[in-house]
Symmetry: C2
Subunit: 325 residues, 2 copies
């Protein structure tokens, strides 16, 4: 089986490629080709991996990318929320037009209907919210990023209904703990306040400790992607976009988990300093979900924030908390 990952240099794309490279198969079928593409060169992982540099928003690029007819396409490429808000044109160009060009390129190929897994986001929702957002709640985003995600969700469902693709859109929770360096995502602080103290560095908390959000670990997110690529989609019906399961936690609950796993010294590295712009954006984000539909379809969530932190230590810090020692 042939697999294509767009946005393969991004955090999700990279971890997914790593996992697929290690597994060597997907859903019981051997991976004969794994193509990784991004605007910057993605890392390779051994095996039958092809690395590619492309901007999917450039006309013609998508047709080139699917020329080998990948059986599964993980479409994770995109501009993050903060950048899509600050650069209106770029956000629409990459997140909306890039996705549409990919769908159109697929549509132009006769008798080709790949599984397409699209990483949408809970930013597709906007306040005011019910106590728990289920899969029947309207997508009324309060950011351009969320608007672009919700629009691609609609395309994904229509292209699936028309039998051009076999699409599954998964609305990822805030990914926490996001490894690596801070990016332009306005939600970055949810990860910063755990990741940085774990290695003895200060982190700024720009919102109140009572702020509640919906989280999933990178490990859980990769699990969602693999399941979306291998599940029986007949049970989805026409509604192809799913709220992924996660953990609803306040910032203070995150910090308490940090204290339990890494000690008080780590907690003391968090500096509380409200940023009104970020605080305002976060106010419009969802806090809690009813993900029973996804759970019933076999998607699995993290058990606790302590587990999320411990898994981060295993996956990113070679099992050690350097700061604690």
């Amino acid at each position: 089986m042939r697999i294509l990952i767009t946005g393969a240099a991004g955090m999700i794309g990279r971890k997914l490629a790593q996992r697929l490279g290690k597994d060597g198969h997907l859903g019981g079928r051997g991976i004969s080709a794994l193509t990784l593409t991004d605007v910057v060169a993605p890392a390779g992982f051994g095996g039958p991996v092809e690395r590619d540099t492309s901007d999917i928003a450039t006309p013609g690029e998508a047709a080139r990318l699917i020329a080998a007819r990948p059986d599964v396409i993980f479409h994770t490429a995109g501009i993050v929320s903060g950048e899509a808000e600050s650069d209106f044109d770029k956000g629409y160009r990459v997140n909306l037009d890039g996705s549409r060009l990919l769908l159109e390129a697929i549509r132009q190929v006769p008798a080709y209907r790949p599984r397409l897994v699209f990483t949408s986001s809970i930013a597709a929702f906007g306040a005011p919210f019910p106590d728990a957002i289920d899969d029947e709640f309207l997508t009324a985003p309060l950011t351009s990023y969320g608007t672009q995600k919700a629009m691609v969700e609609l395309l994904l469902a229509d292209y699936t209904r028309r039998c051009f693709i076999d699409g599954v859109g998964i609305r990822l929770p805030t990914i926490c703990i996001r490894p690596g360096l801070p990016n332009k995502a306005a939600s970055g602080f949810f990860s910063n306040i755990l990741r940085e103290p774990l290695v003895g560095r200060e982190a700024v908390l720009p919102v109140a400790g009572t702020v509640r959000a919906w989280h999933a670990s990178p490990r859980a997110a990769i699990g969602f992607l693999i399941h979306a690529a291998t599940m029986d989609t007949a049970s989805l019906g026409a509604r192809r976009n799913l709220n992924m399961p996660g953990l609803s936690a306040t910032v203070d609950e995150q910090i308490a988990a940090l204290g339990r796993v890494a000690g008080d010294a780590a907690v003391k590295l968090i500096r509380r300093e409200i940023d009104p712009v970020i605080a305002h954006m976060v106010d419009g984000w969802p806090r809690n979900f009813d993900a029973s539909r996804a759970l019933g379809l076999g998607f699995g969530a993290d058990a606790s924030f302590d587990e999320i932190i411990r898994n981060h230590i295993v996956d990113e810090l070679e099992g050690r908390v350097p700061f604690k020692e």
Copy 2:
């Protein structure tokens, strides 16, 4: 005040232009210019009316149309549901790209923020439905037409949030009784079975009499448009797309009203002949709504199907039922 109507040769655009031409004002302000544009030449109605022929999906056309900075834009242009389903490219080109080009042209003009009223549709929703669809129900359309409408709704909300426009999207019920000749809308039969018998002509009913739908008269629809153009939008908040009030009725209830207003001979002109394709499309359409949000915002609905038929006789048949005489 200057007004632009796109799709001005369409049924809604034409009736709106007629009404504005007759009124000479909108929301208490005199109309100094009324520009009517469509792919075919719209009718003129006296007064300061400019008639224009344009395809809004052609790059550059939208900038030309808004060069005079209209204060209010009624964006009613679009391909109807049946045609958007049979011609995938044309539907996306006109309904999605045309609307986006209009929004983009407005965004490019500094310090310009017109009221933009967009005629969306209840086709933005798809089955399965709750008993009554309210403004918090997800837009999961089951047609390409509905997908395009839902996507433009998202753009309208984002462009409003960004202060490029002051947008109001109104989800029109099935318009009944649609005057004139049958068009390519799959919903045409809801009107045909009343309009044709009223003038002594046969009409085909391609679905079961138990089929329920959500209706509004052309008169009510024009009222929605005028109210959307003149209302205080501060009360809308970020959610700019509204379910319009209507009448929930079965085909058999429509026919009973026809019998009461026009007699049994009219009813006998309806020939029942199931069309599986139309019956299947209609199965995915919404039947009943909770429009309390729109009602609370001052939008008004029709009182009964008898009234809808009587108003049609006044507006389209000079007050007479020729067939009955």
